[in-house]
Symmetry: C2
Subunit: 335 residues, 2 copies
DNA sequence: CTGAAAGCGCTTACAG
DNA sequence: CTGAAAGCGCTTACAG
């Protein structure tokens, strides 16, 4: 070695062991700097069978919510001096499994999974810590917002504005988020006013799904159709916005719309979308932190989301407000 | 070993060497399957100093164009039995460099870089093949579309529709794409009609940039403002759309708008955006293929883009069409 | 055709 | 406090 010491000593200096005498340490450090020496990651990994990379698997990197999540996770990983390796499962269970295997083969430090939509009970046996983010994977601890509580925020908002004829566009029932948001919203509306008219529809979380459902929904005569629509995702809500525009319906004058997630785009559509803000930075950071803890705690963690009120929600039109036709009970669910 | 052979032989079977006798090979393969043995990637990498991972660095994974690029690259890598490791540079030169170093440390098979916006002449000396994608990095070979040719397609379209008072919102002048698109558009318009009024503005590639510029531009009286605006990115164009909407301007009735890239969202805004489709799949695939070739060829490659005509472009309003005020030359550039 | 052995570049007990 | 040595799990000349 340039500094005339053994490789073992260099390794100790690199590891920051205090057992190495200061003078020697400085000399070695100088040599390291002078040669701009970088330890071989592979050799280290082979020896210790662990690395500084955290694997992240998202269902679809093309989805703005997940790409923001990925950006946040990368930032958090970086702060903890780790790298992030990102993979996209295309909502495909097999791809998800093969990505997990690939990560495990590389002996990553840990894996964060936003589970694919398809419900499944995978069995992954490994010493590598795994946490689920936003959508639970198998039975690994989950970091997410409290979906039900967050969805109830939207219900409160609609109710306070005076809406009593409301539609909810739910996410897939095979996702916890889809179910919890729906339940949170529906329960709160019912709790506030058992007589409020509430229609529920189920779809996927994407733009098209919201648009298709809204188009059908809004084709009804004004006194029949909802004065407010809450969606389980911003993408759905933007689809609704689009349908409303196509039908010449003023938002929020004739129809209020609220989304969920606060993706970047929510603040760019016209009108800007009232929505629930997911604290993606905090969620991603917690996932990273949990992974890095010596002993991975088994419990789930739920963070709080917040309501962001923007231009897409307002009181119902005057001729509709408070009118509570007792035309008999409507079928409350219709999926 | 379970099959009673040496590790060397196992290694040869795994490598598919034909020198191993068929009977032995089958026996070993059975043992491999039975134990579901997976070779240690780290050890292999240490020995051969190469891996099956391709590193991809994009300026901002949150930008839909890049996330689609990433998805395409991952698919292409997968087809060639490689994994993709994705990093986001946040348009920061230092982060970009540190990601390159991290990839090199992991002895990746190759690196694909969509360069950060900031112009710079990095010096990376390595045996690892590197290609630039979409935006050139240092002096590494570039895979991109022919931006000038593609932008000219939009110019042709506007001209054919009858627009003669046109604005162009350019991308950053410190990017090749920004410059080439602008040049392609401007040259074509000038070539078609030297008297056509053409105003040029420069901005960033994002939503806000388009919106801000358009707001100013469209505040002018109808006979002064352009009848068509071409933008250097879909995000800018969507910003323009938004400004037009806020000002109560009908698109495409009073104003035609065209974007560039054909991000997913372009087909979801109202009206749907006329734009230039980048063949992201092919671009990403070519980048991967180039990387995997034994000898990386130094030349650039340009693919062709195509015009996608949708609802945001139409002939100019009748009272504006063909009116060619000879009110003297306007200042052609104004940035 | 197949085995024994060297060696990739580290980390970490084990001596001293 | 520091060095010499073993060993992580592969691949690949080198023998035979």
């Amino acid at each position: 070695m340039r500094a005339g010491v053994s490789v073992g000593t260099v390794s100790r200096v690199l590891a920051g062991e205090l057992s190495v005498k200061t003078a020697l340490r400085d000399r070695v450090q100088d040599a390291i700097d002078a040669l701009s020496y970088r330890p071989n990651v592979m050799a280290r990994a082979l020896r210790t069978s662990t690395t500084d990379v955290i694997g992240l698997i998202v269902p679809d990197i093309t989805n703005p919510f997940f790409s923001q999540m990925a950006a946040s996770a990368e930032r958090a990983a970086f702060e903890y001096r780790h790298s992030l390796m990102l993979a996209s499962s295309h909502n495909d269970r097999e791809a998800e499994q093969s990505h997990i295997s690939a990560f495990l083969d590389r002996s990553v430090r840990g894996i964060i999974i936003v589970a694919a939509n398809v419900s499944h009970s995978a069995h992954v046996k490994t010493k590598v810590p795994i946490v689920s983010l936003d959508r639970r994977f198998a039975d690994f601890p989950l970091i997410s917002i409290n979906h039900a509580e967050a969805a109830a925020l939207v219900a409160d908002h609609f109710y306070e504005l005076g809406h009593r004829r409301i539609a909810y566009i739910a996410g897939p029932a095979d996702t916890e988020a889809g179910r919890a948001r729906r339940e949170g919203f529906v329960d709160r509306i019912r709790a506030l006013d058992a007589k409020a008219e509430l229609e529920i529809f189920s779809g996927r979380f994407d733009y098209e799904s919201g648009e298709v459902i809204a188009r059908r929904l809004l084709a009804q005569p004004p006194n029949m159709r909802p004065t407010a629509i809450a969606a389980a995702s911003d993408q759905q809500a933007i689809g609704v916005l689009r349908a409303a525009r196509d039908l010449g319906l003023d938002v929020p004058g004739a129809l209020s719309i609220a989304g969920f997630d606060d993706i970047h785009l929510a603040n760019l559509v016209v009108p800007r979308l009232t929505t629930v803000r997911q604290p993606t930075d905090q969620l991603a950071r917690r996932a990273v932190e949990l992974l890095l803890e010596k002993a991975l705690e088994p419990g789930d963690e739920a963070l709080s989301a917040s309501l962001v009120i923007r231009g897409s929600t307002a009181p119902p039109p005057p001729d509709q407000a408070g009118d509570q036709p007792t035309e008999g009970p409507k079928s409350p669910q219709q999926e």
